[in-house]
């Protein structure tokens, strides 16, 4: 059965800290891995990763995929209180089906 695991499930840091969120997966016919940020609304898209070893960056956020070891990390540097959210990892497998992980709840304290 396809599965996506995220760790940690929750994390509390202070502003300015750097955090690394982990996502590992077991998915049939892997196509892509996506990271989403969810606040009090539907999740918003952050990154889509399809190739190993190629880092994607957007401001203070970056992400990389390792297709051999079947995992991805999401890094956030110089965290701000506005980064507080649930970060979802999703993997696209067979039939365009997406499997989501349970999310990592990040709380950034001032």
């Amino acid at each position: 059965e396809d599965k996506v695991v995220q760790s940690p499930l929750s994390l509390v840091v202070h502003e300015g800290d750097t955090v690394t969120l982990n996502c590992s997966y077991e998915v049939t016919n892997f196509r892509s891995l996506l990271w989403y940020k969810q606040e009090k609304k539907a999740p918003t898209f952050l990154f889509m990763l399809t190739s190993s070893g190629i880092e994607k960056k957007s401001g203070r956020l970056s992400s990389i995929l390792d297709k051999k070891e079947l995992f991805s990390i999401l890094n956030i540097t110089a965290t701000q209180t506005g980064d507080s959210a649930v970060y979802l990892c999703a993997v696209e497998g067979r039939g365009q089906n997406f499997v989501f992980g349970p999310g990592t709840r990040l709380s950034v304290l001032p």
Partner: protein
């Protein structure tokens, strides 16, 4: 600006009622999805549709049905609502074909359904 809208933000229904959740996208996307989100379980796919009048079961289709009569509209139907269907329901759409050419799924704002 892409847009996925859902007919209701909040719904309260009674056990046994028939419930319709509507989703409309204005991006001419082929694919549309219905998810439910519950604490600790992440997003779980209920049904998806890759074309008008086409539908596929997701991971948890039991107790639900869907309708895709027009490309822009994907409806989720609870034939007889039960309390375990209390949840946040999220609709999404994506451009066909999928895979590496698909940058993202666009999500609606969600409908929070409470079944009493």
């Amino acid at each position: 600006d892409v847009k996925v809208t859902q007919s209701s933000r909040y719904l309260v229904k009674r056990t046994g009622e028939k419930v319709f959740l509507e989703c409309v996208q204005d991006m001419d996307h082929e694919n549309m999805f219905w998810y439910r989100q519950d604490p600790g379980l992440g997003l779980r796919l209920i049904y998806f549709s890759y074309d008008v009048k086409m539908k596929e079961k997701g991971d948890i289709p039991e107790g639900y049905s869907v309708s895709r009569e027009k490309k822009e509209r994907f409806s989720l139907i609870l034939e007889s609502a039960s309390t375990n269907q209390t949840s946040m329901y999220l609709c999404a759409s994506s451009l066909y074909p999928g895979g590496v050419n698909m940058e993202t799924q666009y999500f609606g704002p969600g409908t929070r359904l409470l079944v009493l």
